[in-house]
């Protein structure tokens, strides 16, 4: 294992937390998931079992390995179970107050050596660390969605993060089988800093009547070899989610390109959130997409 890390805690069992727990358990770490709600833990466990069943079906994981991986993984609504963890990765709601409350409770139950990692995509690591009770042992570890499939992890030290802490977390990330990149503790880190304004710019082209969504997406896929155009991606992510992340980035940077175009709010008001409502920049029926040309 990596630099003495044997047991991993994941706080928060939503989509990101469940994905991170899969990554840790699959890499052979004893993994404890903490959430305040039993039903959320149960749902995550079911999704995890489903994910591993698919991995076996696709030949990515031998059936014989599944029982061992699942045995590594436990869930609890008792924050006291985090006491056994050498590192705790928090993946709770993107609200500084919520994160401070959680970390403050964790600080009381975890031993001094435990590192706290935050999966935040928009908040400052230094600000999160300030409410942790151990600001020299807090580090940013932003996994990409879906964490169990994406290799990239953006790692950021806060202003007070110790070099040794960062190194332990970095080695741990590699031991997970992930690809860490180092970024400064800056709004949006790398990924969201570039992605959100780029997607806003694509929306502005639609808004200004420069081109239709399908033409914009086709241009990027053909001209640059992108796997997916920005408007297809926005429909997949959901415009409501985009609004939340973009507003957080704009609040932190006040950069004009981060400001959410008015069209997004109009589309949300009309219920055009993307795939999940059957209409966004394209229309959908089941898995079929219309308007793509």
């Amino acid at each position: 294992m990596s630099n003495g890390i044997k047991t991993v805690g994941v706080a928060g069992s939503g989509t990101m937390g469940a994905g991170i727990a899969i990554v840790a358990a699959r890499a052979g770490f004893r993994t404890v998931v903490y959430d305040t709600r039993d039903e959320v833990l149960a749902r995550a466990r079911k999704q995890t079992e489903g994910f591993f069943a698919k991995s076996v079906e696709r030949g990515k994981l031998p059936q014989a390995a599944v029982a061992g991986v699942l045995a590594n993984l436990s869930g609890s609504t008792d924050v006291g179970t985090m006491a056994a963890c050498d590192i705790v990765i928090e993946a709770v709601f993107e609200d500084l107050k919520v994160k401070h409350e959680l970390l403050s409770r964790l600080d009381k139950v975890c031993p001094p050596h435990t590192i706290f990692a935050s999966n935040t995509s928009t908040l400052s690591i230094a600000e999160i660390a300030a409410g942790s009770g151990r600001d020299d042992r807090v580090v940013g570890m932003h996994f990409c969605l879906p964490a169990q499939l994406m290799k990239l992890v953006e790692m950021s030290p806060g202003l007070k993060t110790g070099d040794a802490t960062f190194q332990v977390a970095w080695d741990f990330c590699k031991a997970l089988g992930q690809t860490p990149v180092k970024t400064r503790d800056s709004p949006g880190f790398i990924l969201n800093y570039f992605l959100i304004p780029f997607n806003n710019d694509a929306i502005r082209l639609v808004e200004a009547g420069v081109a239709a969504p399908a033409d914009i997406d086709r241009a990027l896929k053909t001209g640059l070899g992108y796997a997916m155009g920005p408007l297809e991606l926005l429909d997949l992510v959901g415009l409501d989610t985009h609004l939340l992340v973009a507003e957080a980035l704009y609040a932190a940077t006040h950069e004009p390109r981060a400001a959410v175009p008015a069209l997004v709010k109009r589309m949300i008001a009309a219920g055009h959130l993307g795939r999940k409502t059957g209409r966004g920049f394209y229309t959908y029926q089941g898995n079929a997409m219309f308007g793509g040309g």
């Binding site: 790398i190 990924l191 420069v210 086709r218 241009a219 990027l220 920005p230 004009p256």
Partner: protein, 235 residues
Amino acid sequence: MNYQIIRAGESRSFPGDHPFVTAAAEFGEAVVIVGANAGAAFGKFKDRERRLAILVELGTECLGAHTGEERGLEGSNVLGFARFRLGAAPPSDLVELVRQPRTAHTAIDAARGLFEERGMKVALCGDFAGRILDRLLRPYYNAALRRLDEGLASAADLDTTLRLGLGYPEGPIELLERTGLAQHCDVTQSLFEAYGDAAYAPARRARVEKQRQELNRQGARHARKQIDGTADKCR
């Protein structure tokens, strides 16, 4: 559909003897004017009414610079086009096809068919500087260069993040190094002049590379003059 090619200088869309150019007929229902001086050649082309579509290769200028505009009611059988190409890289299969508000649908369909029959893909857009891709990409490239200067991450980590995180085939820094920072400087400067938006202002690294190339050219000219001068004295 038959098409006729009018050459007007070196074309960035169809450089050299591209099959699209060599396969053209003597006379066609459509006319494709290619080359750096396509706009000027269009100005001299009189036989416009008989053609289903007239396609004029564009640089960074708008189609309206050649056709004129009329209170938002402009449009005819004339379209602009350019195959998307980044700097020194070869042209992509993407054709940005430029229409005006009242461009005839028959002309648009004919133009689209012409390119698609030959394996290219068409993105239709309005007559705006930067069309689709330059307008979207240049602010992103400028931001990447600026954030590199500000120490957000190393060039390698910036590229890795955007490749792995977003599935882009290439990160922005490696892409600009491959295709040319100076050319990026030229394109984004023209968009900055068109829109006055700071996002298009060339990033420092792009300006520096542009300056370096200009200084090298000046140095080479100076050296040539000195060599020529020495040769004259020797005669």
